[in-house]
Amino acid sequence: MQHMALKKIDQMSESSIAYGNKFLDYFPREQPNPGAENLENIQQLRNRIPKRILAETQERREIFISDWPEKKDPFTQSDLLESEEEEVQRLISQIKISLSLRYREKLANRLITLFKDAKEEDTDSLGITVDSLRNFIKFLQLNSNLKCPSISLTPEYNIYASWKDECSVFSVHFLPNRDVRFVILKPNYRHPERQIRVSGITTTDILMEMVLPYRVNDWISE
């Protein structure tokens, strides 16, 4: 079964590389646990390759759909789901001990609640998309001076974090591919009755540089 899965991964990798040789650069390997088993790596690759292909063209999408192994294969169904769930739980428990945040306990508890709520509503759901969660944790590691955000899940079970004060909003959607889409709503400092509205997409590592001109630190930093 694993041999078949590997073969399928190889086929998908080839199609991605043929489409553009940036594939490997775009998703550099970065395991939170370097000693993780190959199976986990394979599963992560499987998650990433189709998403990239999906984003390209409708034609590619059709290829992908027809190329995807059927769900009746137990390797692609319950094993994959369980593995992702375990990874989400492992990441959440790591937050409690490894992140240097004052509110790490509260944050971890909030994520556990979201995970449970998502599973309660749809037992077949991922609970929280593991790569979105990784992206969020990476952001918090890079920016440990931020207040605790409100956290919710998008319809795709990605992390969506919001920092708000009375009249300003900074919200970030953590995508599974290390990108973020962000929104800023704040009063126009020269015309307080009017609102500045900014939205964009960037990589997580430079998000705070990107939004520096909008002084979001005024309401999101501790």
């Binding site: 709520d117 509503e121 409100s150 956290i151 919710s152 319809p155 969506y160 919001s162 929104v183 509205r197």
Partner: protein, 147 residues
Amino acid sequence: MKGDKIPNYDHVARYCKPITVEDGQIQATAFMVRMGEESLSVNWLEFLNCSSRENEIAELRKIYSRKFNKVGTSAKIAVLNIGEVCEKVLTKSPDRRKLEVLHDPIENDPSHKNDPSHSGIYNLKQDDELIAELILELVRETYSARI
């Protein structure tokens, strides 16, 4: 009737799942569509033909308990005025998005999950975080989705 445009002065209610609510506060994620979803599901309140908002909400709770496997304890109902939503999104979204709110009744459902007041907010896209935040600013009334 299916496809009818709902008048601007009427109201719709959005069921906000527990994953879109924190400490009783509805988040913008409640107004996001999932990939492949044609519209944001809502219920047309005036169509319910109740005598008060309280009765409309009570009716909605019945609909939810019939439609969904489970209505979470923290799930909420957000009430929106259609005219306000369309006007704000048209004038404040970067691409001057023209939303449409259309009646989309669910009838003759084989699993007995009929929902005659079901409607949809159309022309939303999956990456519309800013529009979701704009809509969130217009939520004036919230209720628990569960009794």
